[in-house]
Assembly symmetry: C2
Homo-oligomer: 510 residues x 2
């Protein structure tokens, strides 16, 4: 497909002043997606965007293989009765949590477990009404846990660690945004089953290490936070959310890990025979990520000229721009092709832009697409035995053609480092310590400064749920949860005054 | 996931006597899929089966990249009005074909274009009825051709060559069979747009070359046949079907290429500005393949011991079985691990079976899964500096450990060649020349021998549609179409007696 050039790509909104216009503009201008498909919230992935997503997926596959997860593929459609079963479980756990009792002590009324509201239904096929309605998977717990009892017999079958990368669906009623809030979601989900709670905890720890390695490749700093109990999916015992801080100060959950304990196993009959032949319930976890990873890459790294792609997932890592003059066009093109072949042979994703247009126009196009390194090759460069390198984020130098593979790899590594540092600085700048709270004589709390709408705040916190509610209503922000990285030494809780290392984050989230 | 061993895998039906029992047994016994998912015709892909499918996909991606196709990802859901548009087009073309007139001369009544019968409908989401009903893609013509006018402006944008590998859906009412007839289909579809009919013809030629390369890797001989007009999708001008002959004599269409001429372009307004600034309609093609490729691999290559996987797509190409004795277990395991690391480092997919069970049981398990090469490593082998190699299809020899990478690659290449030869022989044996037809005094035709239900037949044919109908009703077989490989010299048409090189195939198809 030829590149569309021209006016559609001009007039990029200023990112810092107007992130909410910049983002939707840039995802289309850089040819990541086309939003003109006739269903809202379902974009067409264009080749450039899909390639970037597939490169992220390749990193995920690599990590799954390193950690002995096996890839499966489950059907998209799930029979309605499994949703009822999930809803019954979730309603039960929610009530047990609210009433502080053991779920096994509760009974639900028939109509107490309502239908999930956010799924798409398939109730007709051809001209028939289906006997059993089905829904499009939002995630695959129920589909998978129906099969687990058939696969798990004894402790020798554990741990069971499987994953899939699939399309999932959510009947989204809020405003949609490419990658961030869509109705068909490109989704990764890992599901595991273990002998006990501790083994499942270890799995969550492994998941967080995987997240760290993936985020290193994407050059993205994250916040890992244990969600507050009132914001934890009731099916989970606890949830660790992984958030990227977007430039507008909003947090974007790009991944999450749930420890399910044996709650689902009890509902779905997932047991194993222990070493003494006794039947035990499995403990389970899930780990999910989605195309939001690409949304975070776009939002965090881009600038007023377009995207900046982390080298690990750049569909094109190096673009070669031949700078030809009439008298040496053939020679320059031949040298460019040789350079391309050399880099490509070394596993570098490289492209020649041989279009017959002004070099400045080419630079402009590849800047929008965020190609990390541009190599210009003109008669003078060739005479010097070098190519002229320009980094997307700034910085130019000549690279000796003799060592070009090594030098380009070094450039790409340095660009990655620069992107990590730059993103970390942005991230740290946005996180602030919450101004002090003070309590009036009537017992009501107030805050001693204004809350900046484009920041997120941290507090030492060891108060009650009611205290949390006070803080949320004072600040207009929500509890993101307890950061897995605590304060190194104890501080005083901002509301109860109790000594604590708990570092709680407050934000507005997507 | 641990391998399930034991009685579930015993008692494989005899393939030659009872292919229709052997096939469904083996797809589950070899852990390709699990059919116990609660929706009929929607299997769960288990890790081993999914890995094989992903390796087939990798070959497809390789071929698409070599031929400058770009990968996209379209939404699964398509608005109902696009199905109406397709049905109007197809009905119009069908009537035009029947009446022998130009489609532009026809008008359709409102109710003449019925709704496609085989799609799943999404008409509800959450508790709402959707304003615009949507359906799950059976293929993506309408979804894509809605976007093509936005992407194609001038001849410089052509050819447009895109593809995707996605889940598609068919509301299948016939009996389902894993990979062969399913309701959720793992599907590859390439869609192209060209300046004219000739350029689109060239695309079909390129597609057929791609098919040949893929089939070479899968070690599968195929029939390429231009479908008879009455069996051509009315949306297409012509269709080339690519069939594998299964051991029971049935043909399985594993791929197809359609030349759409400008029929869809006229309906969807897909035009380009020619070099003289005139608006012209694009000519289009599609090329589809599916998980049936894996079904063909299973059906053609397997035997009474299980699968035989072509090395190019074998999830495990080599299994190492350490043959340990008490006094040398550590040494043998260390040597096995070293061997694994050597082969793996050379890009060979290899696994050690270190389970604490009898070697014979291990051999049995890997035979069912069709691992092409087994390497046994015992004290005597180690003393000789060799590993003992057993090919899945028969043949044993010692391989020198010093040259093991080279020797294993040679074994795999020879196994592939053996599989190709074996499959070609099966294929040729099943294709027979149709016994002579003779015409009685009353003009009615009869056939001079019995039709063998497990064969397919070829005939020289240059008769009318009525002649074809006579042959179909006499033989109980269907016209598969005109083989792209014609007779080298002219023969007499079996019914009209006219001289012709046309080689027509008759079969029962899946």
């Amino acid at each position: 497909m030829h590149e569309e050039v021209g006016k559609a790509k001009r007039g990029i909104p200023a990112k810092e002043e107007d992130f909410n216009s910049w983002y939707p503009f840039i995802v289309e201008a850089a040819d990541l997606v086309d939003k003109r498909y006739p269903i809202k919230g379902m974009d067409v992935w264009r080749p450039y965007g899909w390639k970037a997503m597939r490169l992220i997926d390749a990193i995920t596959h690599r990590e799954m293989e390193l950690t002995d997860h096996e890839e499966v593929r489950f059907p998209l459609l799930i029979p309605a009765n499994l949703l009822q079963q999930e809803n019954r479980l979730v309603t039960l756990l929610k009530r047990a949590r609210e009433e502080g009792v053991d779920p096994s002590e509760l009974r639900l009324d028939e109509d107490e477990a309502g239908f999930e509201k956010e799924v798409y239904w398939v109730k007709n096929a051809g001209e028939n009404e289906l006997e059993v309605p089905m829904f499009l998977r939002p995630t695959s717990e129920t589909a998978m846990y129906t099969m687990f009892p058939l696969w798990i017999r004894s402790h020798a079958d554990l741990p069971l660690k499987i994953y899939q990368i699939v399309n999932t669906f959510r009947y989204e009623t809020k405003q949609t945004r490419s990658f961030i809030r869509v109705r068909e979601i490109h989704f990764f989900e890992a599901h595991t089953a273990h002998v006990d709670e501790a083994a499942a905890n270890q799995q969550i720890a492994e998941d967080l290490e995987i997240v760290n390695r993936i985020m290193h490749d994407l050059c993205l700093p994250v916040i890992m936070a244990k969600r507050p109990i009132w914001d934890t999916f009731p099916g989970a015992w606890y949830t660790i959310g992984i958030d990227v801080v977007m430039p507008n100060g909003r947090t974007l959950q790009v991944a999450s890990c749930h420890h399910y304990r044996d709650q689902w196993a009890r509902e779905f009959g997932i047991t194993y025979e222990g070493e003494q032949a006794e039947q035990k319930y499995c403990h389970q976890t899930t780990y999910g990520m989605s195309e939001r990873l690409l949304g975070a890459v776009v939002g965090v790294h881009g600038d007023d000229h377009g995207l900046i792609m982390p080298p690990a997932i750049a569909p094109i890592q190096v673009v070669i721009v031949p700078v030809t003059k009439k008298d040496c066009a053939d020679e320059i093109m031949a040298a460019s092709e040789e350079l391309r072949a050399t880099l490509s042979g070394a596993g570098i994703r490289v492209k020649i832009d041989g279009r017959n247009i002004r070099p400045a126009k080419k630079y402009y196009d590849w800047e929008i697409k965020g190609v990390p390194l541009r190599l210009e090759l003109g008669p003078r460069d060739l005479a010097n035995g070098s190519a002229f390198a320009a980094r997307r984020g700034g910085g130019k130098k000549a690279l000796n053609l003799v060592d070009i593979v090594e030098l380009v790899n070094l450039e790409l590594a340095e660009i990655s480092d620069w992107m990590r540092t730059r993103a970390a600085t942005q991230h740290d700048d946005i996180i602030k310590t919450l101004p002090e709270l003070s309590q009036g004589e009537n017992g009501s709390w107030s805050i001693n400064a204004e809350i900046d709408g484009a920041s997120i705040y941290e507090i030492p916190f060891d108060g009650s749920d009611a205290d949390a509610e006070t803080i949320e209503s004072l600040t207009g922000l929500s509890f993101l949860g307890d950061a897995t990285e605590e304060y190194p030494e104890e501080r005083s809780c901002c509301i109860s005054g109790k000594k604590t290392k708990r570092r709680v984050l407050l934000s507005k989230s997507y």
